[in-house]
């Protein structure tokens, strides 16, 4: 495998996870995100989490009343993987106490799962689960195209991009409109974004009219900017202009399945990828080009860093453990995302408290 996972050894995961969950997992910011300011009650307590435990034991319908409850349960279970599901009509852990037909998924972020294996048609360096510095730019192009379309076309503002730890990237669209989208709404957006159509029975994978939709034109612009660099230097395509259509296949074919359903689970940010040991860290969409998947810290690195850095800052104040490790920079990206997100509910909270006074 071309990816260097430095000192990480998958065998050590059971020993490292308890330390990670005890000292490094950012419970505070994580809760602040999923609680959405508490504007809508139950939006945290009715959220489904699922855990994958040792030996692939998979438990669904976990839910927690608050940050403390969440923290304790994660620390107790030390899951190999955490998935985030939908906000349901009832507390997921009590789902067996209500009629199956009345237990329904109500809301969820709009999510996209871009996987490098979807690009096997156009990359010549690796295939399947492997990635290398030659094909990672494909992912960067994908992020840029989707990010632009979601913001400019659909008007979404709160996009959380997360590295999946190995070969993929997830996007969580957290705007209220997105969280409330119906299944047809999700399908429509997913289809709008996919240019590459058709399975193995369809010959032309990219359908382009003579006058492409403005959204495609923008995507082409993004691809064109990166094309020379990517295609010629890294993938040995012919650098000829007619080939640009082939390269349009670079336009993301995100895993539309995940995007469509309200009731789908997606791996949570800040999980550890069990194979590579890398933390699923946020990616700053404004600086995609500088995001290097091979520099994302592994669990063994950050646990190691903990042991070598003083637990207090210079002025003697105790600082969060994760800020003392190379997770710091990634947490700043998350904080930036949270700060913007918080603006959306501040107004609402004032509005709500105002109502109380007048009533």
């Amino acid at each position: 495998m071309p990816e260097k996972t430095s000192s990480y050894d998958p065998e050590s995961l059971p020993d490292l996870l308890p330390i990670y969950y005890k000292k490094l997992f950012p419970y505070g910011p994580y809760f602040r995100w999923l609680n959405y300011g508490g504007v809508e009650k139950n939006c945290f307590s009715h959220r489904e989490f699922s855990f994958t435990l040792k030996d692939d034991i998979y438990i669904r319908y976990q839910s927690f009343s608050n940050e403390k409850d969440l923290t304790e349960e994660i620390q107790k279970r030390c899951p190999y993987k955490i998935d985030i599901g939908a906000i349901f009509s009832h507390r997921p852990k009590e789902h067996k106490t209500v009629k199956a037909s009345s237990f329904v998924a109500l809301k969820k972020e709009l999510v996209f799962d871009i996987d490098m294996t979807d690009y096997d048609d156009v990359r010549s360096c690796c295939s399947g689960a492997d990635i290398c510095s030659k094909c990672w730019p494909l992912m960067q192009i994908a992020i840029k195209i989707i990010d632009r379309a979601l913001r400019d076309d659909f008007g979404f503002e709160h996009l959380l991009w997360v590295y999946s730890g190995r070969r993929g990237v997830h996007c969580w669209v957290c705007d209220e409109t997105a969280r409330k989208l119906s299944q047809p709404g999700r399908t429509a957006i997913a289809e709008y974004l996919s240019v590459v159509k058709g399975g193995e029975s369809q010959t032309r994978k990219v359908m382009l009219d003579d006058r492409p939709h403005p959204s495609i034109t923008s995507a082409i612009d993004i691809v064109r900017k990166r094309f020379t660099d990517y295609a010629v230097k890294k993938q040995d395509f012919l650098g000829d202009d007619d080939k640009i259509k082939d390269v349009l296949q670079l336009i993301p074919e995100e895993n539309v399945n995940v995007s469509k359903g309200v009731n789908h689970l997606l791996k949570s940010p800040f999980c550890i990828h069990p194979k590579t040991g890398r933390v699923c860290v946020p990616i700053d969409p404004d600086n995609v080009d500088s995001f290097d998947a091979f520099k994302v810290p592994t669990i063994s690195e950050i646990v190691d860093e903990l042991n070598h850095v003083e637990p207090t800052s210079e002025d003697g104040k105790r600082i969060k453990d994760y800020k003392r490790t190379s997770m710091k920079g990634y947490m700043e990206i998350f904080d930036k995302f949270l700060t913007n997100l918080e603006k959306t509910w501040k107004g609402k909270l004032i509005e709500q408290s105002g109502k109380l006074t007048y009533d």
Binding site: S102, D118, F154, G155, L181, S182, I189, S201, Q202, P214
Partner: protein, 513 residues
């Protein structure tokens, strides 16, 4: 982003059905007393209308005059005969409105339980709505929009000139034409079908919709309303403290036109074993399933969409869980080891058989579901071959399968008209050596195709009307087994059987080795 002001006065919207028009969004349930007899009668009458709409859509292009003529003809003998009459305040009007309203709500109750039923009902109601709206005069259309608070302000010329090029690119018209058109600015969630097809210009969450596309907006609003209403109804039904008069009637109604959902009947479980599948896939599988089968044999793998579509179909034809496990494992483990298979795929298979998760007993996908949802992407083999294959490639494939020219031309023309189930039915006739258009009923379910095929092959469905030997002869000219198969369908089946047996034995040896 704030969209609260998007619809003029939407917040103050007084929900009412009391418009001046017959067409409505069915927002208020009826309050009048309905006798038990009427309850059923009204529902059945509306079902006739919806069925007519469905059949019309299968036979004709939705905007064609044939479509209109067919629906009109079908409605003539129903209580809804005056539904399509132009707006006049004759005395029957209020009666008709009440019938329209009551019957809609009864069917909503009857068709809310399964996803399949909701999908069917919603689709027919939407088509009916679209059709009724298309028959209205321009002034009434405008009035309808206003009365339903869907009156959007058109964008100013200034705003339009700024985005003229984008609008032109989307509509495939010249900028000059765009200039003369009236455009409306709406939230993208109101015109999802335009968004999905990338037929509208989007900017910052707003969709710029031309006046001609406003029906799409109406349909979008109606669809959302109906989906939501059906979901709420489905949730409420378990709490409905009802005497035992209505519920049985409702469940009877919902089975009426959907046909069987091909859930596994006890009698069929175990009838099919893993080693029979190769043979069956050649004889009795619809094209979508035989394609999945060969794709799996070829790649020793199927992606999720394919596993779902194919796995549930197999379950529907009577493959037991144990046999299913055996079937998938033997193929997948040619590529991955058993351990990995057990970890990654066996959960999914048990889940489909209701042994994991919420333990729902999943039913096989219907054609509508396969055609309408989850189009295959790169590397996927699922979907409907008639819809999801390029026409030229499809023609070539069918030619290689020695489908006769007469059938082939018919299939291709149906595909081009978007009537994929009809194309599939013609394919069935060709494969089973039946005269063209012998099957009166169009297939709506892959399992229906399978059962029909089995019936035909077992001689229960003898083509009595083979009075057109020239025609069937012609279609077989490309068949290699021409001479033998002409005489009797039976002999050709036997021949297939022996062929398949050989193949099967090899396959079994290979997998068990």
């Amino acid at each position: 982003m704030d969209f609260s002001t998007r619809r003029k006065g939407a917040k103050k919207e007084v929900v009412t059905n009391n418009t001046s028009q017959k067409l409505q969004f069915y927002k208020i349930p009826p309050t009048e007393t309905v006798s038990l007899h009427e309850f059923e009668e009204f529902a059945l009458e509306r079902l006739k209308v919806l069925k007519a709409i469905e059949t019309a859509g299968e036979k004709f292009v939705k905007t064609s005059s044939e479509y209109e003529a067919y629906v009109r003809e079908q409605l003539r003998n129903t209580k809804f005969s005056k539904l399509l009459k132009s707006e006049k305040n004759d005395e029957n009007d209020s009666e008709l409105r009440s019938l329209d309203n009551v019957s809609h709500f009864i069917l909503r109750l009857a068709y809310c339980k399964s996803e399949e039923a909701r999908r069917w009902f919603r689709q027919q109601e939407l088509d009916l709505f679209r059709f009724r709206f298309s028959l209205m005069s321009e002034s009434l259309k405008k009035k309808f929009l206003v009365e339903n608070n869907l009156h959007y302000e058109s964008i100013s010329d200034e705003e339009k000139s700024k985005i003229q090029e984008q609008l032109a690119a989307v509509s495939n018209k010249g900028t000059g034409v765009v200039e003369s058109l009236e455009y409306f600015k709406v939230h993208f969630t109101d015109v999802l079908d335009l968004v999905q097809k990338r037929k509208v210009y989007l900017h910052k969450g707003h969709a710029y919709v031309a006046y001609d596309d406003m029906i799409s907006l109406l349909i979008g609003v109606y669809r959302e309303h109906l989906s939501q209403a059906l979901a709420i109804t489905a949730r409420a039904i378990p709490h409905l403290e009802e005497d035992e008069r209505l519920l049985p009637m409702l469940s009877g109604l919902s089975k009426r036109y959907l046909g069987s959902d091909y859930d596994v009947k006890k009698s069929t479980v175990g009838q099919v074993t893993a080693d029979m599948i190769d043979m069956l896939s050649k004889k009795s599988f619809p094209l979508c399933m035989s394609h999945l089968h060969s794709s799996m044999r070829q790649n020793h793998h199927l992606r999720h969409g394919g596993r779902q579509q194919y796995g549930l179909f197999l379950k529907g034809i009577g493959l037991s869980l144990d046999e299913a496990m055996k079937f998938w494992r033997s193929e997948f483990t040619k590529l991955i080891d058993v351990d990995k298979f057990d970890k990654q795929y066996s959960y999914n298979i048990r889940h489909n058989y209701g042994k994991e998760g919420k333990r729902a007993d999943y039913t096989p996908y219907s054609c509508m579901k396969i055609i309408m949802s989850n189009a295959p992407g790169p590397g996927d083999s699922h979907g409907c071959p008639f819809k999801h294959t390029d026409v030229d490639l499809l023609r070539q494939k069918l030619k290689n399968m020695t489908i006769g020219d007469v059938y082939l031309d018919k299939i291709i023309s149906e595909v081009k008209a978007g009537r994929y189930n009809v194309a599939c039915t013609r394919y069935f006739e060709s494969v089973h050596k039946l005269p063209l258009e012998y099957q009166a009923q169009t297939f709506s379910h892959p399992n229906q195709y399978f059962e029909e095929s089995q019936r035909t092959l077992n001689g229960e469905n003898k083509p009595v009307g083979i009075g057109t030997p020239q025609r069937s002869q012609k279609t077989m000219t490309t068949t290699s087994t021409e001479n033998k198969s002409q005489n009797k369908t039976k002999s050709c089946i036997e021949e297939f059987d022996t062929m398949d047996d050989d193949f099967d034995i090899n396959e079994v040896i290979e997998t068990s080795a």
